[in-house]
C-alpha cells in the first residue's frame, strides 16, 4: 500500500439496524450483528428486545454500552491497545459527540479516538472528496452533501423511511391478506419421508411479544429482500393489478404468492403517501411531511452553494442496506433527470457489490484509519485530558 500504514485501529459503525466492527485496513467488517439488546429483568426470567432506533440512545443509555461491550468482546480485543474510529450519523449533535468521546475514554480507555461522519466515510469509500450521499439504511434514510471531505450541515436531511419501515409495511400487508408468519423458533420440521417435511409446532413458554415480533420481522425482511423490486415508474394500483405473482416459501413450508406488493412497498421510498393505502399502516403520522427520495435529493442540493451543485449532481452515491434493492439506482436516476435542471448532468453511482453497499460506511472508515497521513489526526487521550472533551469539536470536524 502506498499511502497506507496500519496501526491496527478498530473501526466501529453503530448503525440503527446492524452494528459493524472490524480492523482498519480490511475490506469487510469482522463482526456484524443486529443492534438489538436483550435485557433480562431480574424479576422474571424474560427477555426483552429493544431496538436502537434513535441515535440518541446509541450513546446515552446503558444499552449502547452493552452493545459496544458485546462488540469488543466478539472481536476479542482489549480496547486499551487500539485506536478507535467511530462512525457517527451525519446529523449528530455536539453533545452526543462529547458523550461518546467521554464513554470511550473513561470506560474503555482507548489510546486515541476519532469520530467521523457516515457520509464522509461513504464518500471516501468510493474515492471521492465531494459527493451527495444517499444513505438508505435500516432505521432511516439520510441525505448529506460532502464537500472536500466535510459534511455541509445545512444540507443534511433525513426521513424515517428505512429498511425497517419497509419491512413493517410488508408484514402488515401480508397480515391483511391473511398470511400468518410463524417465527422461526416456534416450529420444527421433521423429515417423515426423504424430501418431504412435516411441520411440528413447538410451544416455548415465556417468549415475549417483542421477541416474537423480532423473529417475525426477520422473516418479513427476508421476503422483502428476495422478492421486492423498485418499479420503473410511479406505482398505480390499476397498472399493477394484473402483474404475475411470485411465489415465496416461508420457513415453515407454506408458500405464499406476492403480486403487486412487490412493487408497491419499495415505491414507498419514492412516494411516502402510498403508505396510507397499506392496511394497518394508516397510523403512520409523518407521511404528510415526509417527501420521497428524489425530492429530498433536490432539496438538499438546492441548499448548497451554487458553485458545487453541478458536481454534486454528477456524483450521487447510494449506500446502505436498502440501497441494494433492485432497480433503485435506475429509478432514482430517471426521476432525478426529470426534476433536475438540464444544465446539470445527473449521475447516480452505487457499487455493484451488495456487500460494499451495505458496509460502505465501515469500508470508508477502514480506508481512512489505515492511511499514513491520517495518523496525525487522532484525538489522543493526552489531548483529552489536557484540553477537555470539547476539543473534539475542533479535532473531528
Amino acid at each position: 500500500m502506498y499511502g497506507g500504514d496500519e496501526v491496527s485501529a478498530i473501526v466501529l459503525d453503530l448503525g440503527s439496524y446492524t452494528c459493524k466492527a472490524g480492523y482498519a485496513g480490511e475490506d469487510a467488517p469482522k463482526a456484524v450483528f443486529p443492534s438489538v439488546v436483550g435485557s433480562i429483568y431480574q424479576a422474571g426470567a424474560t427477555d426483552e428486545v429493544k431496538h436502537e432506533k434513535d441515535s440518541d440512545s446509541m450513546y446515552d443509555s446503558e444499552n449502547a454500552d452493552k452493545t459496544k461491550t458485546r462488540k469488543l468482546e466478539r472481536l476479542l480485543i482489549d480496547p486499551k491497545e487500539h485506536p478507535m474510529l467511530l462512525a457517527e450519523p451525519s446529523f449528530n449533535t455536539p453533545q452526543q459527540r462529547e458523550k461518546a468521546a467521554e464513554l470511550m475514554f473513561e470506560s474503555y480507555k482507548v489510546p486515541a479516538l476519532f469520530l467521523a461522519k457516515n457520509a464522509v466515510l461513504t464518500s471516501f469509500a468510493s474515492g471521492r472528496a465531494t459527493s451527495l450521499v444517499v444513505d438508505s439504511g435500516g432505521g432511516s434514510t439520510t441525505i448529506a452533501a460532502v464537500h472536500d471531505g466535510y459534511v455541509l450541515q445545512k444540507a443534511v436531511s433525513t426521513s424515517p423511511i428505512g429498511g425497517e419501515f419497509l419491512t413493517d409495511c410488508m408484514m402488515k400487508s401480508l397480515e391483511s391478506k391473511g398470511v400468518m408468519i410463524k417465527p422461526r423458533y416456534s416450529f420444527k420440521r421433521k423429515e417423515i419421508r426423504p424430501g418431504e417435511f412435516q411441520t411440528v409446532d413447538l410451544d416455548i413458554p415465556n417468549t415475549t411479544e417483542s421477541y416474537k415480533l423480532y423473529s417475525q420481522r426477520a422473516v418479513a425482511s427476508d421476503i422483502k429482500e428476495s422478492v421486492c423490486r423498485v418499479p420503473d415508474t410511479a406505482f398505480e394500483e390499476s397498472a399493477y393489478a394484473n402483474v404475475p405473482m411470485t411465489p415465496y416459501e416461508l420457513p415453515d413450508g407454506q408458500t405464499i404468492e406476492i403480486g403487486a406488493d412487490r412493487f408497491k412497498i419499495p415505491d414507498v421510498l419514492f412516494n411516502p403517501s402510498l403508505v396510507q393505502t397499506i392496511p394497518g399502516m394508516e397510523s403512520f403520522a409523518g407521511s404528510a411531511s415526509v417527501s420521497g427520495l428524489p425530492q429530498m435529493v433536490i432539496e438538499s442540493i438546492n441548499r448548497c452553494d451554487a458553485d458545487i451543485k453541478r458536481e454534486l449532481f454528477s456524483s450521487i452515491l447510494l449506500a446502505g442496506g436498502t440501497a441494494s434493492m433492485l432497480q433503485l439506482k435506475e429509478r432514482l436516476e430517471k426521476e432525478l433527470m426529470e426534476e433536475a435542471p438540464q444544465a446539470a448532468r445527473v449521475k447516480v453511482l452505487a457499487s455493484g457489490n451488495s456487500i460494499e453497499r451495505r458496509f460502505s460506511v465501515w469500508i470508508g472508515g477502514s480506508i481512512l484509519a489505515s492511511l499514513g497521513s491520517f495518523q496525525q489526526l487522532w484525538f489522543s487521550k493526552a489531548e483529552y485530558e489536557e484540553h477537555g472533551v470539547s476539543n473534539i469539536q475542533r479535532k473531528c470536524p
Partner: protein, 439 residues
C-alpha cells in the same frame, strides 16, 4: 484454431485429410508438458523469450543476502502531532537497527498560511461597520481550521453570512494587512458584486425547471427562424431591386438587431414579410417608409422567395439567361398574367441551371471513373453506373431548344456528348411534361 482442435474438426475445409493428422501432432508436440494448453495459449502460443522465474533459483537462494531483515511491531511518533501519542506499526528492521528519522507521512502535513493580526493592526486598518471584532476573529479561526474552504466555513459559521461576504472580508483584511506591512500592490482585489452576480446567475440556470427550459428553447428557435427569414428577404431585396443602391451589411445588421428585439410580435414567414420592411428605418427607400408599394413589389417578393434557395451565383446566372433570351429582368407591363409567366420562366431557368450543374457533376465523376477503369477490372457496378449517367443525361439534353445548345456548351466544362443527339419530337415532349408539372 484451438476450439477446432479440441473438437477434432478439420482445421481447413480444403486441404486434404492427410494434412490433418501430422498437424495436430505437431501442435501437441510443441506444447511443453506440465503447462495447460489454455495457459500456453495466453502467451500467444509461443514460449517466453526470456526466462521469467527459474525454479532452481528459488530453491538455491536462501539466506545468501548480506543483510538480516525482519519486521517488528514498534512504536512511532510523528512530528505532525502536537502531543506525543505513540502508535504502533510494522517496521522493516535491517540488521537489528530500526529506521531513524521522522514518520514518513509527516511531510504531508501542509496547511494554509493565514495572516494574523494584532489588536493594534485591527484598530488601525481593519475596522469595518459590517463586521464586528468577534466575527472577524471567528472567521480567521475558521479559515485556519478549514484551510480556506469557504463553502464549508460558510456552512459552519455561527453567524448567518454568505460565502461572498466571508470571502470579501477575508480578502479585504489580508490585503490591508499585507499592504500595511510591505507596500506592494499585489493582485486584483476581490470583486464581491461580480461574484454575487455570477452566483445568482448560476443558481438561476441551475434551478430552472424543465418547462421553463423548454419554453426558452422554443423561443430561441423561433427567434432564429425569424432572423433567418429576415436575412433572406433582406439580402435578395437589396440585390434585386435596382432602385436602391444600398446593399451594405451594416444596414442589414441593424435591421436584424431590430428584428430580434421585435421577435415576440412577429411570426411571419418570408413571403409575407411586407410589414417588417416598413419598420426598417435604415433602408433609405422613402417609398417603403410610406407603405407604398410598386406593382412590381409583390412580383419581386415572389422572385426572392423562389430564389431564396438558390444562392447568389445562381441568381446571377438566371438573370444572365433572361438577358440573353432578350427578356427584361422586370417585365415592362406587369399585369397578373405577365408576372405569372415571368415567374414561370424564372423557375424553369432555375431548374435548367440545377440540372446542368448535376450533369456537370455526373460527367466529372464519370470521366474520373473512366480513367480509373483502365487500372481496375471492369465489374457490373461500374457499368450500371455509367448506364445511369447516360440515362439521366438523355432527358436533360432533349429538353433544350436548338438555340440553347450553344449556351449549354458554353456553360459546361467537360466536353459534351450530346451535340449528336437530335432533339426528336417524342423526347422533347417528355421534358415538356416534366416542366408543366413543375409549373
Amino acid at each position: 484454431m484451438d476450439a477446432k482442435d479440441i473438437l477434432g474438426l478439420p482445421k481447413n475445409p480444403f486441404p486434404a485429410t492427410q494434412e490433418k493428422k501430422p498437424r495436430p501432432q505437431k501442435e501437441t508436440q510443441r506444447k511443453p508438458d506440465g503447462v495447460h494448453r489454455e495457459v500456453y495459449a495466453l502467451t500467444g502460443g509461443m514460449a517466453p523469450l526470456m526466462p521469467t522465474i527459474e525454479v532452481s533459483h528459488l530453491k538455491k537462494r536462501q539466506n545468501t543476502e548480506k543483510e538480516k531483515i525482519s519486521w517488528q511491531w514498534l512504536p512511532f511518533t510523528s512530528s505532525a502531532r502536537t502531543d506525543n501519542l505513540q502508535l504502533y506499526h510494522w517496521v522493516r528492521v535491517v540488521n537489528g537497527v530500526p529506521p531513524t528519522g521522522d514518520y514518513s507521512f509527516a511531510k504531508y502535513n501542509k496547511s494554509v498560511d493565514v495572516v494574523k493580526y494584532t489588536d493594534e493592526e485591527y484598530k488601525k486598518h481593519l475596522t469595518d461597520p459590517m463586521w464586528s471584532r468577534e466575527e472577524t476573529d471567528q472567521l480567521f479561526d475558521f479559515c485556519e481550521r478549514f484551510d480556506l474552504r469557504f463553502i464549508i466555513i460558510a456552512d459552519r459559521f455561527p453567524y448567518p453570512r454568505t460565502v461572498e461576504e466571508l470571502k470579501s472580508r477575508y480578502y479585504a483584511v489580508t490585503r490591508a494587512l499585507l499592504l500595511s506591512r510591505a507596500p506592494s500592490p499585489g493582485d486584483e482585489p476581490y470583486n464581491m458584486t461580480h461574484e454575487v452576480e455570477r452566483k445568482r446567475a448560476l443558481s438561476v440556470v441551475l434551478s430552472q425547471t424543465k418547462q421553463q427550459e423548454q419554453r426558452d428553447a422554443e423561443i430561441l428557435a423561433e427567434a432564429k427562424q425569424i432572423m433567418e427569414s429576415r436575412m433572406a428577404s433582406k439580402s435578395t431585396e437589396d440585390v434585386e431591386l435596382p432602385v436602391n443602391q444600398i446593399g451594405n451589411e451594416g444596414s442589414e445588421a441593424t435591421a436584424h438587431a431590430e428584428s430580434i428585439s421585435l421577435l415576440n410580435t412577429n411570426h411571419l414567414s418570408s413571403s409575407t414579410a411586407a410589414p417588417p420592411t416598413a419598420e426598417c428605418t435604415s433602408t433609405p427607400a422613402s417609398l417603403r417608409m410610406l407603405r407604398v408599394y410598386l406593382r412590381t413589389h409583390a412580383l419581386e417578393q415572389m422572385v426572392q422567395a423562389a430564389n431564396s434557395s438558390a444562392g447568389l451565383r445562381t441568381i446571377k446566372r438566371v438573370d444572365q439567361t433572361l438577358q440573353d433570351l432578350g427578356v427584361h429582368l422586370k417585365p415592362k407591363v406587369p399585369t397578373k398574367s405577365v408576372c405569372a409567366e415571368h415567374l414561370e420562366l424564372r423557375k424553369e431557368i432555375l431548374t435548367l441551371l440545377n440540372l446542368q450543374k448535376q450533369l456537370q457533376n455526373r460527367e466529372a465523376e464519370a470521366s474520373v471513373n473512366r480513367d480509373n477503369s483502365y487500372a481496375e477490372t471492369p465489374s457490373t457496378p461500374k457499368r450500371s453506373y455509367r448506364g445511369d449517367v447516360e440515362r439521366s443525361l438523355v432527358p436533360d439534353s432533349a429538353g433544350f431548344g436548338g438555340d440553347r445548345v450553344g449556351k449549354r456548351d458554353h456553360k459546361r466544362k467537360a466536353p459534351g456528348r450530346f451535340t449528336d443527339a437530335p432533339p426528336s419530337p417524342p423526347q422533347s415532349k417528355r421534358p415538356r411534361k416534366l416542366k408543366s408539372s413543375d409549373g
